[in-house]
C-alpha cells in the first residue's frame, strides 16, 4: 500500500504522468474508482482486497483519453485488460504506466508491456469455486436444458446495460444494440430481447473477454454473465489455443483463420 502510494506520488510529482487511475474510499464499506492529478491527492488513494473493480474501463473514457499520459493501479484483471486493449490498438504503451499489483495484493512496481505479459502469465484466474461448480452444472445439462437455463437466467435483465458500461472491452462508440437500421436486437427487455442481447454481447466478447467478472458484479439483478464468458473463454482456449489478455500483440481467435483450426463443427 505504502509502496503504491510512493510510486504514484513520484509519478505525479516528477510530472511523468498527468493522471493516476486508482481507488479511494467509497460509500459504507465500499471502495470506488478515483482519479488523481496532484501528488497531495495521493493520500486519498487506497488499495485493499475490495479493490476488484476493473478500472481499465476508464482508459477508453473521456477522462483518460484527454490525458497525454497516465498511470493505473493494476491488479491482474486490469493488467490483462490493458494487454487486450493494446492488442486491439486501443492504447499505446508510451501513454500508460502500469503499477502492477499481484493477486495477493502485493505491489510489483511499474510494468512495461513485456513485463506485464510475464506478470499476467504468473497470476491465477480469479474464478471462484462456486463459479466452477455452476459451470460444471451447466455443462452437464443437455443442450435444450442449457438453452432454457440461459433464457431463464437472462429474464430478470432490465437492459440497464451496466454490464456493457462496466466492461473495458465494450468500448464501441455505437453498440450494435443501438443501431436500428436494421434493428438487429430488440430494444425491449422481454424474454427474447434479453436473450438476443446477451448472446450478441457474448459473441462479441468471445476470445476477447479477460474474465474479470465485472459484468456480473455490476449487474443490479445479478445475472451470471461472467459464467457465460468463462465458458466461452474455456471453449476458445480448447478449440483455438487462444487466450485473451496475455499478450499485447494478439489476434482474437474469432478474427482469424488458420490452417490448423479445427473444422469439426462443419458437419
Amino acid at each position: 500500500m505504502e509502496e503504491i502510494k510512493k510510486i504514484a506520488k513520484e509519478l505525479l510529482a516528477e510530472n511523468k504522468v498527468q493522471l493516476i487511475v486508482g481507488f479511494e474510499k467509497g460509500s459504507a464499506n465500499k471502495v470506488r474508482p478515483a482519479f488523481f492529478t496532484k501528488p497531495e491527492e495521493i493520500d486519498q488513494l487506497i488499495y485493499n482486497e475490495y479493490c476488484i473493480h476493473n478500472i481499465a474501463l476508464y482508459l477508453k473514457k473521456d477522462i483518460c483519453q484527454k490525458a497525454n499520459n497516465l498511470a493505473i493501479i493494476a491488479n491482474p484483471n486490469v493488467v490483462r485488460s490493458i494487454l487486450q486493449l493494446a492488442s486491439e490498438n486501443q492504447i499505446a504503451e508510451e501513454k500508460i504506466k502500469i503499477i502492477g499489483i499481484s493477486f495477493e495484493g502485493k505491489c510489483v512496481g511499474l510494468l512495461d508491456f513485456k513485463a506485464a505479459e510475464e506478470f499476467s502469465k504468473t497470476q491465477p484466474k480469479g474464478i471462484k469455486p462456486e463459479d466452477k461448480a455452476l459451470i460444471e452444472k451447466i455443462q452437464a445439462m443437455p443442450l435444450e436444458e442449457r438453452f432454457n437455463y440461459w433464457v431463464e437466467a437472462f429474464s430478470p435483465c432490465i437492459k440497464c446495460y451496466a454490464c456493457r458500461a462496466s466492461c473495458p472491452m465494450c468500448y464501441c462508440g455505437k453498440c450494435n444494440v443501438e443501431t436500428n437500421n436494421p434493428q438487429w436486437i430488440p430494444v425491449a427487455p422481454h424474454k427474447y430481447g434479453n436473450l438476443e442481447w446477451h448472446m450478441m454481447r457474448a459473441m462479441h466478447l468471445a476470445g476477447r473477454c479477460i474474465n474479470c467478472g465485472e459484468c456480473n458484479r455490476s449487474c443490479p439483478v445479478n445475472i451470471p454473465l461472467n459464467i457465460l464468458s468463462y465458458m466461452l473463454s474455456d471453449f476458445i482456449l480448447d478449440e483455438f489455443d487462444s487466450e485473451a489478455g496475455m499478450n499485447a500483440v494478439f489476434t482474437p481467435a474469432l478474427s482469424v483463420y488458420t490452417s490448423v483450426d479445427k473444422e469439426n463443427f462443419i458437419k
Binding site: 436500428n180 437500421n181 436494421p182 434493428q183
Partner: protein
C-alpha cells in the same frame, strides 16, 4: 366505425393520398383520415406537429407542413435519415400509416396582426415554416409586408420548388432564394450566399416586424446576431426546436430542456424564451 381512443398512444389511420418528390431524399406526403369522423373532429394550428408511424418500424416526429386553412388533409415533408423515415420513403400512394397529434404549441399569428413578417429558412427546415407561411398568406389582409428568405445547400436541395415559384409570382410576397456558394446551376437566377449573409444584405426593417427563423443549428447560430444588429428584439424573433422525441406529450422525458418539454411547451419558442433555457437543443 368510430372508436373513442382508449389510450393516448392510439394513432389515427391515414391514407397517403399524394407523394411529391421535393429534393433528393426529401418527400412530401398528403395524408387523409381513413375515418370520416376522425377527419371532422381533427383540427390543428400552425406550428404543431405529430407522430407518424409505420407499424413495425416505429414512430417519427415531424411538424404538420400544411396550413390549417387548407381543410381535409394534412401534409408532412421529411428527409430519409433514420429507420422510420427510410421505411416511409418506400411507401406508395394509397398506403396506410399511423398519425398521432396534433401536439405542441403554435406560432402566435393572432398576435402578429398588423405587423410585417420576415420568414428565414434553411434547407429542410422550410416545412415547419411552410405551414405558417400559407396560414398567413391565406389570411393575407391581417399582415403588412411578408418577406421570405430561403436558402439551401444547392438548387437541387430547395424544397417546395413549385410553391417557391408561386410565391415569386405574387405581388404581395417578397421572396429571396439563395444557395450556398458552389450549389448554383448555370440557370440559377437567385442569390448565391449563406442565409445570414443574404439576410444582412436585404436588411429588412425591424420596425413593427416579426422574424421567424427555422434552419439547421449552424444557420440559426449565425442568423440571430444579424437580426439583433437589424434591431429585432428577442420577443419578436421566433424559432422551432427539434429535440428528439418519442411520446409527444411530455412524458417520455427525451425532449426535456430545463423546465420545458419541447414537445409540450414548444416546439415554437421566441428568442426571449430560448435564452432562458439551458442550451441543450
Amino acid at each position: 366505425m368510430n372508436m373513442e381512443k382508449n389510450t393516448i398512444y392510439s394513432p389515427y389511420k391515414m391514407k397517403i393520398e399524394k407523394i411529391t418528390e421535393e429534393a433528393p431524399f426529401v418527400k412530401t406526403f398528403r395524408l387523409k383520415f381513413i375515418n370520416d369522423e376522425d377527419a371532422e373532429n381533427f383540427s390543428f394550428r400552425t406550428g404543431q406537429f405529430g407522430e407518424y408511424s409505420i407499424f413495425g418500424e416505429g414512430e417519427t416526429t415531424f411538424c404538420i407542413a400544411s396550413s390549417p386553412t387548407r381543410k381535409g388533409y394534412i401534409e408532412c415533408t421529411f428527409r430519409q435519415a433514420g429507420r422510420v423515415t427510410k421505411a416511409l420513403a418506400n411507401l406508395d400512394e394509397g398506403d396506410i400509416i399511423g398519425f398521432r397529434g396534433p401536439y405542441g404549441n403554435i406560432f402566435p399569428i393572432d398576435e402578429w396582426k398588423g405587423k410585417n413578417l420576415v420568414f428565414i429558412a434553411g434547407g429542410i427546415a422550410l416545412p415547419p415554416m411552410r405551414s405558417v407561411i400559407w396560414n398567413c398568406l391565406d389570411l393575407r389582409e391581417n399582415f403588412k409586408d411578408i418577406t421570405i428568405i430561403y436558402g439551401a445547400r444547392s438548387v437541387a436541395d430547395l424544397v417546395y420548388k413549385n410553391e417557391l415559384k408561386e410565391w415569386e409570382g405574387r405581388s404581395d410576397v417578397n421572396i429571396v432564394t439563395t444557395v450556398d456558394p458552389g450549389g448554383e446551376t448555370p440557370e440559377w437566377t437567385g442569390k448565391i450566399g449563406f442565409v445570414p449573409t443574404v439576410l444582412s444584405e436585404i436588411a429588412p426593417s425591424s420596425e413593427n416586424t416579426i422574424a421567424i427563423v427555422c434552419g439547421p443549428p449552424i444557420m440559426i447560430k449565425f442568423t440571430f446576431p444579424v437580426l439583433e444588429k437589424l434591431g429585432f428584439t428577442d420577443e419578436n424573433v421566433y424559432t422551432t426546436l427539434e429535440n428528439r422525441m418519442k411520446c409527444g406529450f411530455g412524458k417520455c422525458g427525451r425532449c426535456n430542456v430545463g423546465k420545458v418539454f419541447v414537445c409540450k411547451d414548444g416546439p415554437v419558442f421566441s428568442l426571449k424564451q430560448l435564452k432562458e433555457l439551458p442550451a441543450e437543443y
